[in-house]
Amino acid sequence: MDNRKIELIEHGMVFDHLTFATGGRVFDVLSKYAWIDGFYPIMVGSFPSKSKGRKDVAKLDGLHLAEGTGAMNEIALLSPEATVSWIDHGQVLRKKKAWECLAPLVTSRLIECPNANCITHEEAPPTFRVQQRQPLSLECVYCKRSFMR
């Protein structure tokens, strides 16, 4: 997916400044959620970045995701500093950092509690409370271990 051009979209979402090499996982997340109500094209590319050397970009064509819901939470966990834009009629409706779109409590198997003895490694669904948004700091709701993303 290196250096491919990503087409402009009329209505949808753009996830810019994704951490390099997370684009594939963002694609998986978007696929999981965006196919629930039908098929919406997803494009992912990798580009040079002035600040970080490389970045990934993803676009979702035809669908707006709500903040604090499944896909948005998971993208924020994968790349909290990404920029999320909602596009309508080819214009940016609004723009936010991914960490701003994160629900206060998130359940996701995309990340693991760093405590190897935590019950989430055996049975409980990994669930985290957002302690601080920037830089992103999470707390496991079961073992109470805090960690930075």
Binding site: C118, I119, H121, E123, A124, Y142, C143
Partner: protein, 319 residues
């Protein structure tokens, strides 16, 4: 007052909650006969996914002495369906189907009790979850301290030996809420007090001093009301050559001996049992002295757990 629905962490309890519990435990201890029927037709599930002699037997005693029954119990996974990989959630569902009014769970994983409280609508009492919490131990310790000194404030505590892995130091989350309490910490540097506790004490403007030099024992003991030792939790050291080497240096590095004790009466020495018979952090010559409080402390486990059951399962005010 509203008592917490489940007992998961000592940090969930306010001083008012603890006062309520200690008052009831004191009454139960003084008049056990008056509470013999308070749990009649009520049933407790004792789900011990790892063994614990005292926690198990004291909860069982507490429930039966209140006239209640045990609906489901296992003392360890061996010989149960847990060996067939039955889940915690499924075990809890069965406990409910068997008519349990509450659950006591002990589990080797951190956070297992919080998870249990999430998947069942029954009250859950944490009988120890991994390296994480052991709130019923903390509460019986608070009872023992209050019983001896008549207060939980304006006391001086010395915590010694394994302060890193021992769960008893979680009691700091509560003791630091009271005015005038001061704390000494004495340990080998490899098992010093974790930073999170130091931050907590600082945030609550508590006075504390840490030492890694056993020569400070007499000075600390002379000033303290409570000297609280914790067994070196050797099972929690990394199973590496470096971990084993560190353990060799830690074991026996901090030992309270009778010769170190000051000539004063307002001191008790506490220790959550079991004590390591090969490498005790309290020498045997302290066993027979009036300051030796650990057996009395463990004995308080029954009235304090009776009070917990009365408050958590209901029945504190009689049938």
């Amino acid at each position: 007052m509203s008592w917490p629905r489940s007992i998961l962490s000592i940090a969930d309890f306010s001083p008012a909650d603890v006062t309520h519990l200690l008052d009831l435990a004191r009454t139960v201890k003084a008049s056990p006969g008056a509470y013999q029927q308070h749990m009649r037709n009520r049933y407790l599930a004792l789900l011990f996914f790892e063994p614990s002699t005292r926690t198990y037997t004291s909860f069982r005693n507490a429930m039966t002495r209140l006239g209640g029954g045990v609906s489901m119990e296992f003392r360890e996974p061996k010989g149960t369906s847990l060996e067939k990989r039955e889940s915690v959630a499924s075990t809890l569902a069965m406990a409910k189907e068997y008519g349990s009014d509450g659950i006591v769970i002990r589990h080797p994983r951190d956070g297992a009790a919080a998870y249990a409280a999430e998947v069942t609508d029954l009250p859950v009492i944490n009988g120890g979850d991994g390296y994480n919490e052991h709130p019923t131990q903390n509460l019986l310790d608070l009872f023992t301290i209050h019983e001896r000194f008549g207060r939980l404030d304006h006391l001086i505590f010395l915590f010694f030996n394994d302060l890193k892995f021992g769960r008893a130091t979680r009691i700091l989350a509560h003791l630091s809420l009271y005015p005038g309490n001061r704390f000494f910490f004495l340990s080998h540097p490899a098992v010093g007090l974790p930073e999170q506790f130091k931050s907590l004490l600082d945030a609550r403007s508590c006075t504390w001093e840490e030492s890694f030099d056993p020569a400070d024992f007499p000075r600390f003991l002379a000033a303290s009301h409570v000297a609280y030792g914790s067994r070196t939790q050797e099972e929690r050291f990394p199973q590496t050559a470096e971990g084993r080497e560190t353990l060799k240096h830690v074991r026996g590095s901090v030992v309270l001996r009778a010769s170190l004790l000051p000539a004063k009466k307002d001191l008790v020495v506490m220790h959550p049992l079991p004590m390591d018979k090969d490498f005790p952090c309290i020498a045997r010559d302290v066993d027979s002295l009036p300051v030796a409080y650990w057996n009395h402390q463990a004995g308080n486990g029954i009235p304090v757990r009776q009070a917990m059951l009365l408050l958590t399962l209901g029945g504190a005010h009689g049938q």
